[in-house]
Symmetry: C2
Subunit: 456 residues, 2 copies
Amino acid sequence: MNDFWSGAGVDLHLEPDPADGRRSGLERALRDAVRDGRLAPGTRLPATRRLAADLGVSRGTAKAAYDQLVAEGYLTARQGSGTRVAALPPTPGAEAPRADARTGAPRFDLRPGSPDVGAFPVAAWLRALRRAIATAPSPAYDYGDPRGRIELRTALSGYLGRARGVLAPPERIVITSGYVQGLALLTRVLDGAAVAMEDPGLPFHQEVVRRNGKTVVPVPVDAHGIRAGALGEAAAVVVTPAHQYPTGVTLHPERRRAIGDWARARGGIVVEDDYDGEFRYDRQPVGALQGMAPGQVVYLGTASKTLGPALRLGWMVLPAHLVDAVADAKLHSDHHTETIGQLALAELIDSHAYDRHVRACRLRYRRRRDRLLDRLGPRPGVRGIAAGLHALIEVDDEAEALARAEAEGLAVGALGDHWHSPRPGRPQGLVVGYGTPRERAYPQALEALAKVLEGE
Amino acid sequence: MNDFWSGAGVDLHLEPDPADGRRSGLERALRDAVRDGRLAPGTRLPATRRLAADLGVSRGTAKAAYDQLVAEGYLTARQGSGTRVAALPPTPGAEAPRADARTGAPRFDLRPGSPDVGAFPVAAWLRALRRAIATAPSPAYDYGDPRGRIELRTALSGYLGRARGVLAPPERIVITSGYVQGLALLTRVLDGAAVAMEDPGLPFHQEVVRRNGKTVVPVPVDAHGIRAGALGEAAAVVVTPAHQYPTGVTLHPERRRAIGDWARARGGIVVEDDYDGEFRYDRQPVGALQGMAPGQVVYLGTASKTLGPALRLGWMVLPAHLVDAVADAKLHSDHHTETIGQLALAELIDSHAYDRHVRACRLRYRRRRDRLLDRLGPRPGVRGIAAGLHALIEVDDEAEALARAEAEGLAVGALGDHWHSPRPGRPQGLVVGYGTPRERAYPQALEALAKVLEGE
C-alpha cells in the first residue's frame, strides 16, 4: 500500500496486485482509482519523475502507464497543465435521486436502488449494438413508431411470457425510456383524480404521479403486502407485488385476488411495478400479477436492474383500451425512445444472451444475499430476503442506527424516508441494498453494517 | 430489369449492378429492396428453385443469397413457412407525425421534416459507440445527472460556440431526448399562461405546448420573419430564426433586435428552435439569436437533422435561472437521457468526425437544392432556398396542386396544414423537403414535382 502522492495534494492508497507486472500493476491501480471515483476528475497527477521516485519504478515505466491511460481516456495530458484525471462521472449512486442520498461519497455504500453496474455486460452489449447497426435498414434512423421498435416488442413479448408469465402481445407493448417515464405517461392518460400508492413506498415515484396531475392516496402495507380493502375510489393503484419496496414483502395470493376484484368492480387500473422480478432466490419466481388480470393491469418492467439504469429502457404492457392514449402521450413527450438501444436489446434477448446475463446476476446477487445473512447471524426482523437487491433490517432506533452508520462511513437507506407521512410509533429499519458495492468492497461494507447493528 | 416474382404476389423490379457478380448482385438488389421498403415485412419470397429458374442463375446461387440475407437479418427462414422478409420498419417518414402525412407509401417522397437517413454515418457512429463503451467507467452505467453527461455538455459547449455562436457553458446545458422533449420540459416550467408561436408553423409543436398546460397564441410571419410587434403579453415565444418553418424566411436583423427588446422589457423567454441551422448554402451561416441575448434565450438544437431522428438526442442551452427547474422536470420525466448515445456523440464531436459529417451533408444537400432549382427553372415564388432541407413553392391553387401530386404518386407538404386557423385568402404553397428521398430516387421525384407545377 503506497500513499505515494499525498505530496500532490491527493490522499490516495493504491493496492497493486503483485501478480501483475510493474507497469500493468500501476496502470490497473490507477484505472481502478479513476473508475471508483477515488481520483476525482481534474485532479493533477504528480510528474513522472516524482511518481517514479516515490514508487521505486523507472521513469519510463511511469510514463508508459500515464500514456496508456491517456490513450484509454482516463487521463488527459496537456502542455503546461501536466497530467490530469479526465472529466469523468461521480461515484455510483451519488447522483441517483434516491430519497436517502447523502452528500459526498461514502466509504461503504449499501444504499438501495441500483444494481451492480460493475457487472454491466460490456462485451455482449457492444456485440449487440454492432449487430443491430449492421442489420438496421436506413429507415431505422428516421422517426419511428411511438410505441417502439417492433423487433424489441416482439422479443419482449416472448421473454415476458416465458420469464414472468405476462400476457404481452407486441401490439400491447409500449417501449419507454425507463420506469419513471412509463409511470408519468400512464398517470397523464388515466381518468380520475387519485392514484393509490403503497405506504411505505418510494417518495420519488409519488412525486412523479403528483407532477403529472394526480393526487396520491397512501395505502398501508402489512406483512401480506398492500391492504387491498383500503383502495376505495382511486382511479389506479401502483403496486410492487413481487418484492414490495422497501419492505420486501411478497404480495399474498389472497391480496392478489382482492386487488383484481377491486379493479374489475370499480374499473380501476392496477399498475404493476416489476422492478426486480427477475431476482428470486429460494423458490420459483412469483409470476406477474398481470397474467391473472391482463385487462386490468398495466405491467411495467425495466432493464435498469438487469442491465443498467443508464440505458433508460423500460416497457409497458397495457390493456388494449389504453394503448393508443399512452402511445399518443409518448409521441408528445419525446416522439419515441432512442432506436439503436432498442434494437440492441432485441438482439440480446433473441440471442438468449439476456437470459444468460440475468441468470449470472441472479447467482451473484444470491451469493451476496447469503453473505449478508451469514454476517448478520440469527437476527430477528430481517425482511425481504427471498428476492431482489435489498433487504429491510428492523432496528429499535432508526435515528441512532443512522448516526452510527454515518460515523462508520456507511451509507444505507432509512425506512423512515419512505412513509407518506412520518408519525411516531411507525416501524423503524434500515433499507440495505446489496447490488451497489463493487465485489471487492462488499465484505468491508458488511463489516461496517454488522458494527452498526451490534451497537444497538 | 426483372419482375421475376410477380407470381409470388409481389410486383418488384430489381436492378442488379452488372459490375457485381451474380450472387453478390442478387444479394445487393434484395438488400436494397428490403431497406427501401419495396419488399414489405412478412412478404414471402419465391422458393429458390423458382427464383433460380426465373433469373437464370443456379439454385446454389439463389440459396446462397437467401442464406446470406438471413444471416444479416433481412430475411427469416422457417420450416414450413418458407423465406420471408423480416419484420422491419415502414418506409421513411411514413410514421413521422407530420401534419402532411398521407396514408400508404408514396412513389415519390418530398415531404419535409426528415434528413437523408440513408446518409447516417453508420461506421463512424459504431466507432464512437465502441470507443465510448471502452472508456466508460462503471458508474456510467448507473443513474446519471438529469442534465446529461458532462462529456457531451463540454463537447457541445465548444461546438455550439464555434459553429453557431451560442454562449453555452456546460453547466447551462441540459441534454434532452430530442427537440420535442426540450419544448415540453420548458413549457412546463415557464411562468405565465400563453406561449406565442409562429403562424404558419408546425401544428405538432403547438400541440406539445398545449399538452403541457399552456395556451398557444399565433403570431404572423411575413417576409422578414415573425412580427415582433405582435408578441404582447406572452410568457415566451418560439421562433425558428435561421430558417422559418415552413416559409423558409430568415429572421431580419431588426426583428432579431426587436424580439430581444421585447424579452428584456417583459421578462419574456425566447425559445430558439435551431433545427437546421447547420445547413446554409450561399453565405456565412446566420449566428444563433442566443448569442445576442443569452439571458433571455433558450436555445434548442438537435442531432435529428445532422445525424438522424432515431438517436433522440437534443440539447437546451438555458439562461442560468431556468437550469435547475428544467433539470428537475427532466428528472421527473425520465431521469436523464440514455447515456451511451451521449458518450458516443461526445466522441464524435471531440474527434471532429461530427464536423466532417455535417460538412459532407451540407455539400450533398446543397447539390440537391441546386438540382431542385435547376429543374424548376426561373419560377417566381420559390422561398427559403438559402438554407435547410426544404423550400416553399407558392402555387395559385394548393388543393389542385395537391390533387395533381397525389395522381403522380408524389407526397409533398402543404402550406395550408400549417396555419393556426385556416382562412380564405391565405397564401398557398407546397412545402418541399429534399432531405428524405434516397439519392437514386431524387431525380424521378423532381420530375414528378415539375409535372405537378407545370399543370398550373
